[in-house]
């Protein structure tokens, strides 16, 4: 399968304050969206849509600006990862920030409808 040919060597480059979240060396994701986002970024980088360094530059900026550099917490780190990716695709003119916001709202509605496909008031 194609996955076995993937080369993750470039990821080693994400050292220092932008290093991928690890638990004593091991990459960690604590929710499926984090893996999905990571997969999207890796795939687009590997297919030549951007240079890893371009992404890294945005990630450093986002982390610096947020003042939160707790790479131990994937839920925080991958939010920064997502923000960096959003800025990169806007910079590349792949998609505008407005369109991402607009589609996110639609997706949010869709997800909540999946949870509540009929009227009831109990909590899952």
């Amino acid at each position: 399968m194609t996955a076995s040919t993937l080369d993750f060597a470039g990821l080693e480059d994400l050292g220092g304050p932008v290093a991928l979240p690890r638990s004593n060396g091991e990459l960690i994701f604590d929710a499926p969206w984090q893996g999905r986002l990571f997969g999207l970024v890796v795939h687009m980088c590997q297919s030549g849509r951007f240079e890893w360094n371009d992404f890294k530059k945005h990630l450093i900026e986002v982390i610096d600006a947020s003042g939160v550099d707790d790479v131990c917490d994937p839920s925080i780190y991958y939010r920064q990862f997502g923000e960096a990716f959003s800025r990169l695709v806007a910079e590349k003119d792949y998609v505008s920030a407005d369109l991402i916001d607009q589609r996110s709202r639609l997706e949010s509605e869709r997800l909540s409808h999946n949870d509540h496909d009929h009227d009831h008031d109990h909590h899952h």
């Binding site: 638990s23 004593n24 091991e26 999207l40 939010r79 920030a97 709202r105």
Partner: protein, 198 residues
């Protein structure tokens, strides 16, 4: 919009992926492949390949036991998470089981995503104090004279258990043995038979 304060990150990620696919810049299947490679290809099958080679190549087995980091690197599993590996071998007299009492250190590249139970405080606390009964709860019942060694992972060292090769597999090649070797057997919470594997 600021991701840090945003609750619905899942919607945001879905939006990004669907937009990229619609623009012809990404493919869902390729994202699947990256995710799967972390879940599977970089997962237990790599550990199983190391074990199968050790079972079938005595020289490699000795190397693995003497210097697991180098022996595993020789299989191409380098970098990300296997910098300081130690291999411990199960025998008829001795059973090894791995835990991380501090957090959830785990040889990710070799064994994939850690199973949920590996992170449970109950497992982490109890397997050190009463390994025999914890193993029994996993279905691993060991004779009283089998010694149990519990290995506590740390930032410096992560462990790979070399399970005992199942009886009846003497004629199999390393490639044929790989599917028989389960993730849990390489953590020490399962034994293998000639038909097991996961």
């Amino acid at each position: 919009m600021d991701w840090i304060s945003m609750a619905d990150v899942e919607a945001r990620v879905n939006a990004l992926e669907s937009l990229m696919v619609e623009k012809g810049l990404a493919e869902h299947e390729a994202v699947d492949a990256v995710v799967a490679s972390f879940e599977n290809d970089m997962g237990p099958v790599n550990g199983a390949k190391v074990v199968a080679r050790a079972w079938t190549d005595p020289q490699y087995r000795e190397w693995l036991l003497a210097d697991a980091t180098a022996a595993i690197a020789d299989m191409g599993f380098t970098g990300l998470q296997t910098e300081h590996m130690v291999a411990v071998e199960n025998t008829a007299e001795r059973h090894n089981v791995v835990v991380c009492t501090l957090c959830s250190c785990y040889p990710w590249t070799l064994l994939g995503i850690p199973p949920a139970w590996f992170k449970y405080p109950q497992y982490r606390a109890r397997v050190v104090k009463e390994p025999r009964s914890v193993l029994a709860e996993f279905g691993v019942t060991l004779a009283d004279d089998v010694k149990i060694d519990v290995w506590d992972s740390s930032a410096e060292i992560r462990y790979l258990v070399i399970p005992q090769r199942p009886a009846g597999t003497e004629g199999l090649t390393a490639e044929e043995l790989v599917p028989l070797i389960s993730r849990d057997s390489m953590v020490g919470t399962a034994l293998l038979t000639s038909s097991t594997g996961s």
